[in-house]
Subunit: 266 residues, 2 copies
């Protein structure tokens, strides 16, 4: 069973990619809707909460942990990998190779939440592999509430995107990383603003590919999980605007486990 | 000591009004920044958390509880009043009289978070006093993140305000209630969109007046609190963009108690 967590419903885009690539797997998803959004919280808070959720997922039977949230991956990814024995995948590492191979002019843009951008994790990981690459990053805090409102194709959304992306256009980046699970839902608007020549990387896709490779290598995909089982979706509070957003994220309606569990004792 | 709570820093606008009116009082403020925003959470969650915070404030010495958050006031106000023995003030009741006296054409607009608007509390409380008043309400979920970004006077903010407020303009309301502590920070933009003829009510001001009346009546303002004491500001996580927003809300820099306490055992 694959345990996936995110601050809310955005990680369903990751769950979708994983199920598409490894459709014999069973997933348990936890969305921390009671504490959402993570992007404006502190590193200490994000580490504490990510640790708690990981423990809870393992207790529920997860054998692999996927940190679908960029903010958690950036701030708590290394901590979780160090502290837990199960395989842990974050949403940053599987895309570094793609970034290196995709950029021609060595100018890369990264957009994410304030906490992700402030952590400099994307910069550090890209530059560790190729020092000559210039990484320009911008936080776009209004993108998450815009997606949650379902305002994915409004004029106002384009105006906000133009405002945020202006410095990246000026730097003439040729690769743009969507370092937040909500942002792929704004991909059309972002592409319109950035132009067709800029390659847009959605880290969820690379993450799902890497998990698939791992499962094939460990021969887990057809043996121990041969029977199709139910997937579980847990949220710490009922998600806002859920039907609209889960369809946007997941492509179809998600059946929530009725009992909304919160792994925290408050 | 007056205990004030809010989902984040927005309630500082209420704290400011209270201190202005009752400057001999000591306040203890709790901003639940770890779980912010409340406006998209469920009623059950908001009740649970409001109860926990009230208990915590009383334990810290609060003798009066002020629910500065509109969402908590709407969803948990009656519960808190019923369950606790100390005087409890919410941010809705003190403004009902103002609404009744201010409207000439009996068409009133209320804007707030999705949870506040969905609760219909403003409607119910206004209509209980005067059935003939028509109350039109609109939720404006992007206003909170816009304020937190400090985008209070941007063109984009005006465009979003025009979008949200259009139905209220069409109904020709003559009174508009800003039923969220963040919204007074967008007052100039809102006034520009609505026009000068619409009276804008900021419930924080009426709440502060009511508390002042209560304190004078109970002769507390000059006796037991005669010496000026420090005010305490607690947050469950370090507030995002704090310097900018606290200045907007409070008019001056707020000195946070260094230890960030979370009354919950997670």
């Amino acid at each position: 069973m694959i345990g996936i967590f995110d601050s809310g419903v955005g990680g369903l885009t990751v769950a979708k990619e994983i199920l598409k690539n490894t459709n014999r797997q069973q997933i348990i998803y936890f969305g921390d809707t009671a504490r959402l959004p993570y992007g404006t919280k502190t590193p200490a808070f994000i580490r504490k909460i990510s640790r708690k959720i990981t423990k809870w997922l393992i207790k529920k039977g997860a054998e692999i942990i996927v940190i679908a949230c960029n903010t958690s991956s950036a701030l708590a990814g290394d901590t979780i990998k160090r502290e837990f024995k199960v395989p842990v995948f974050d949403v940053i590492n599987p895309s570094i190779k793609d970034v290196l191979q995709s950029t021609k002019n060595k100018k890369v843009g990264v957009i994410g939440t304030p906490a992700t951008i402030k952590s400099l994790q994307w910069q550090k990981k890209i530059k560790r592999k190729d020092k000559s690459i210039k990484v320009y990053s911008v936080s776009c805090p209004l993108f998450v509430p815009l997606v949650e409102e379902g305002w994915v194709d409004k004029k106002i959304t384009k105006a906000i995107a133009e405002d945020y992306l202006k410095p990246l256009k000026e730097k003439q980046i040729d690769v743009l990383v969507l370092a937040c699970t909500h942002y792929p839902l704004l991909k059309d608007t972002i592409r319109e603003v950035m132009g067709k020549k800029v390659k847009i990387i959605d880290p969820a896709k690379n993450l799902a590919k890497e998990i698939n490779l791992f499962l094939n290598k460990n021969q887990k995909s057809n043996s121990s999980f041969s029977q199709k089982k139910n997937n579980y979706f847990f949220f710490s509070d009922a998600p806002y605007n859920f039907e609209k957003i889960s369809k946007l994220c997941f492509g179809r309606k998600v059946k929530i486990i009725k009992k909304i569990e919160d792994p925290f004792s408050f």
